[in-house]
C-alpha cells in the first residue's frame, strides 16, 4: 500500500464528506425549524437527482435549467409534505414517533414511486465543469468534486447569514423555539414551517444533483444517504450547519481510511459505528452545545 493510494482514497473521502454534510445540513435545517428528524432527507436527493436527469436527458433542457428543475422539485416536495401530512398531524398534536413513522413511510413511498416511474436503472449526470480531473499531490480529483466542495461551502455560508441576518431566517428559528411567543409577535408559525420544509427539500435536492455525477442516482439510495447525513448532523450537534460539515468530514474521511485499511464492504460499518458511539458518548456533538436529549 503506497501513499498515493491513501491520498487518492482520502480525496474521494473528502468529496463524500461534503455530500454527507449537505444531507446533514438539510436534516439540521428541518430539525431546527420543526423539531422533526426527517428520515426522508436522502429521498429529497433522489428526487433532485432524478428530475435533473429527466430535465437534461428527456426534456432536453440546458444543464442549468435542468438543475433548477431538480431543486424546484425538491422544494415543492418539501412544501407538499408539510401541507398534506405534517400540518394535519401538528393539528392533532401527534407525538414524536408519529412524525418519524411519517417520514419513514414517505421514504418508502418515494423510493417505490421512483422505481415505478423511473425504473431500476441508475442514472448519471455530467459533472459541473465537465468530466476533467486535476492532479493534487500525485492523486487525481475530478473538477466536479471541487465544484461540489465549493458549492457546499457556499450553502453553509449562505445559511449562516440567512439564520443570523435575515428576518425570514430569524422568524423561522423563533417559530420552532417558541411557537406561542412567535405567534404573539406576529410570526405565522405554520408558514415558517412550510418555508423550512421548502428550504430542506431544496438543499436535499441540491445534494442529489451534486452526487449524481459521482455515484449516479437510483431509487433505493435514499435511506443510506439519510443515515450518513444523519451521522454527519449528529456529530455536528444537529442544529449547526458548520458542525454538519465537520461531522461529514469525520464520517467521510474515516470511511475512506476504512476502505484502505479494512475492506470496502465495511466502510458503512465504520461510519455508522462512529455515529452510534458519538450518540452515546458525546450526545451534544463534537462542538458540544445545543440540547439534543430534550423531548
Amino acid at each position: 500500500m503506497n501513499s498515493t493510494l491513501i491520498i487518492q482514497s482520502l480525496m474521494a473521502g473528502l468529496t463524500n464528506s461534503f455530500v454527507y454534510a449537505l444531507i446533514g445540513i438539510g436534516i439540521a435545517v428541518i430539525y431546527r425549524g420543526t423539531r422533526i428528524i426527517n428520515a426522508m432527507q436522502g429521498d429529497f436527493a433522489v428526487i433532485g437527482g432524478m428530475l435533473t436527469v429527466f430535465g437534461l436527458v428527456s426534456a432536453g433542457l440546458p444543464y442549468v435549467w435542468a438543475c433548477a428543475l431538480g431543486i424546484a422539485a425538491g422544494a415543492a416536495s418539501g412544501l407538499l409534505i408539510d401541507v398534506v401530512c405534517v400540518r394535519p398531524m401538528i393539528r392533532r398534536q401527534a407525538d414524536d414517533e408519529a412524525f418519524l413513522l411519517l417520514t419513514i413511510g414517505l421514504a418508502f413511498t418515494i423510493s417505490a414511486a421512483v422505481l415505478y416511474i423511473g425504473g431500476r436503472e441508475a442514472h448519471l449526470l455530467p459533472g459541473i465543469g465537465g468530466n476533467g480531473t486535476v492532479e493534487i499531490a500525485g492523486a487525481f480529483m475530478s473538477v466536479h468534486a471541487i465544484f461540489l466542495i465549493a458549492i457546499s461551502l457556499l450553502v453553509v455560508c449562505g445559511l449562516w447569514l440567512f439564520y443570523r441576518k435575515t428576518i425570514a431566517g430569524l422568524s423561522m428559528i423563533a417559530a420552532s423555539v417558541d411557537p406561542d411567543g412567535a405567534t404573539s409577535i406576529g410570526i405565522n408559525v405554520a408558514r415558517m414551517r412550510g418555508y423550512t420544509f421548502v428550504l430542506g427539500g431544496a438543499i436535499g435536492a441540491l445534494a442529489g444533483i451534486l452526487v449524481t455525477p459521482l455515484i449516479s442516482v437510483s431509487y433505493q439510495m435514499g435511506l443510506g444517504l439519510t443515515l450518513k447525513g444523519f451521522a454527519a448532523a449528529i456529530l455536528g450537534g444537529l442544529t449547526n450547519p458548520l458542525g454538519a460539515v465537520l461531522g461529514g468530514l469525520v464520517i467521510g474521511l474515516s470511511e475512506s481510511l476504512a476502505v484502505v485499511g479494512l475492506s470496502s464492504g465495511y466502510k458503512d460499518v465504520v461510519a455508522l459505528t462512529i455515529m452510534l458511539l458519538m450518540m452515546v458518548l458525546m450526545p451534544n456533538g463534537l462542538l458540544g452545545k445545543a440540547g439534543r436529549r430534550g423531548g
Binding site: 422533526i36 428528524i37 428520515a39 398534506v84 401530512c85 394535519p88 398531524m89 392533532r92 401527534a94 407525538d95 414524536d96 414517533e97 408519529a98 418519524l100 413513522l101 411519517l102 419513514i104 413511510g105 414517505l106 418508502f108 413511498t109 418515494i110 423510493s111 417505490a112 414511486a113 422505481l115 415505478y116 435511506l223 443510506g224 443515515l227 444523519f230 451521522a231 449528529i234 475492506s263 464492504g265 465495511y266 458503512d268 460499518v269 455508522l272 459505528t273 455515529m275 452510534l276 450518540m279 452515546v280 450526545p283 439534543r292 436529549r293 423531548g295
Partner: protein, 314 residues
C-alpha cells in the same frame, strides 16, 4: 359486562373455528400467505411491544429475524443439530446481542433512538452480507430440514400453518398477560411520563432493556420458523426494508393493541398481494396507504371501532 365477555368469547371461538378450517378451503398460495402473516405477527409483536407500550421505534428487527434464521440454518445444515436446538440458539444469540447494543443505546430517546436502531440494523445487514462463511452471503443457505414433533413433519404450508398460528396464539396470550400485569403498567407509565414513573420507583432503563431483549427474542423465533418453513435463507430477507415492514405491522394495527398485531400482519401480507394487480405501482400504492394511515389514523386499524362509535354517538 358478562354479556360483552360472553360475546367476546363467542367471537373468539368463531374466529378460531374459521382459522381451523381455512387451510382446507383455501388454495395453497393463500395458505402460504397466511403462514407468512403468522411469522410476521410474531416479529411484529416484538416491535409492537416496544412501540405501543414503551414508545420506542425499533428499526432493527430484521437483524434479530436474520440472527434467528441464520442460527437455525447454520446449526442444522452445517453442524447437523436438531432444529429445536437451532431455534433456541438463535433466540439466545439475539437476546445477547439485544442486551449488548440495547444497554448503551436505550439511554437515547425518540428520534435518536430510532435512528440508532436503524444504524444497528444496517450494520447487521452488512455483516450478514460480508460473513459469507457463516451466512452464505447472497447465495444463502438451502436445504434446511422441516420442523417435526414426535415424527410428525411440518413440511407443507397447511401443516406449518397450524404450527405457526398455535405459536402466535400462545405468544399473544403471554403478551396480553404481560401488558395487563405489573410490568405492563410500568411500561405504559414510563411512556406517558418518565419522571412520574421514576417517582413510582420504576427503573426505566432496566424495563426498556428487558423489553428490547424480549422483542429481539420474538424476532429470532420468527426468523427461525421462517428458515425452516422456506428451507432456504439469504441476505435479501433481512434488509432494512424488512425492518420497516415489521415496524409498520403495529403502526397499522394501532400500536397499543396486542391482538391487533394479527390485523397488521395480515395487512402487510395481503394488501401488497391485492395491489399486485396494479403491476409495478403496487409498492407505491402500499406506501401511500401507509402514509395515509400514519397521517389520518393515529390509532391504526384498532382505532376504527372507536371512531365509528364516536360518529354514531354524535
Amino acid at each position: 359486562m358478562t354479556k360483552t365477555v360472553l360475546n367476546g368469547r363467542l367471537a373468539f371461538a368463531a374466529v378460531m373455528l374459521v382459522g381451523l378450517i381455512l387451510p382446507a378451503v383455501f388454495e395453497r398460495h393463500m395458505v402460504d400467505l397466511l403462514v407468512y402473516a403468522g411469522l410476521y405477527t410474531i416479529a411484529g409483536l416484538g416491535v409492537g411491544l416496544l412501540l405501543g407500550q414503551c414508545g420506542i421505534v425499533n428499526l432493527a428487527q430484521a437483524l434479530f429475524y436474520g440472527i434467528g434464521a441464520y442460527a437455525s440454518a447454520y446449526s442444522t445444515v452445517t453442524l447437523g443439530w436438531s432444529p429445536w436446538s437451532g431455534i433456541l440458539l438463535g433466540i439466545a444469540i439475539s437476546v445477547a446481542v439485544a442486551l449488548v447494543i440495547g444497554f448503551p443505546l436505550l439511554r437515547l430517546h425518540g428520534f435518536f433512538l430510532a435512528l440508532a436502531t436503524l444504524a444497528a440494523g444496517t450494520i447487521g445487514t452488512i455483516f450478514f452480507f460480508e460473513w459469507d462463511w457463516l451466512t452464505g452471503g447472497t447465495l444463502g443457505i438451502g436445504g434446511l430440514p422441516p420442523l417435526s414433533v414426535l415424527g410428525f413433519e411440518f413440511n407443507s404450508p397447511a401443516r406449518f400453518y397450524y404450527l405457526v398460528w398455535a405459536v402466535v396464539i400462545i405468544l399473544l396470550v403471554l403478551s396480553s398477560n404481560l401488558v395487563s400485569g405489573r410490568p405492563g403498567l410500568a411500561m405504559r407509565a414510563l411512556r406517558d411520563s418518565a419522571p412520574a414513573a421514576e417517582v413510582m420507583a420504576v427503573n426505566i432503563h432496566a424495563i426498556r432493556t428487558k423489553i428490547f431483549a424480549l422483542s429481539a427474542g420474538l424476532g429470532a423465533l420468527a426468523g427461525s420458523l421462517f428458515a425452516h418453513y422456506s428451507t432456504y435463507v439469504s441476505v435479501e430477507s433481512f434488509t432494512v426494508q424488512r425492518s420497516i415492514v415489521f415496524l409498520l405491522i403495529p403502526v397499522i394495527a394501532g400500536a397499543r393493541s396486542i391482538w391487533g398485531t394479527v390485523a397488521g400482519a395480515l395487512f402487510v401480507t395481503f394488501v401488497p398481494e391485492l395491489l399486485s394487480g396494479f403491476g409495478d405501482a403496487h409498492q407505491m400504492l402500499f406506501g401511500i396507504m401507509l402514509v395515509l394511515v400514519v397521517t389520518l389514523m393515529p390509532d391504526g386499524l384498532a382505532g376504527i371501532p372507536a371512531r365509528v362509535a364516536r360518529r354514531f354517538a354524535r
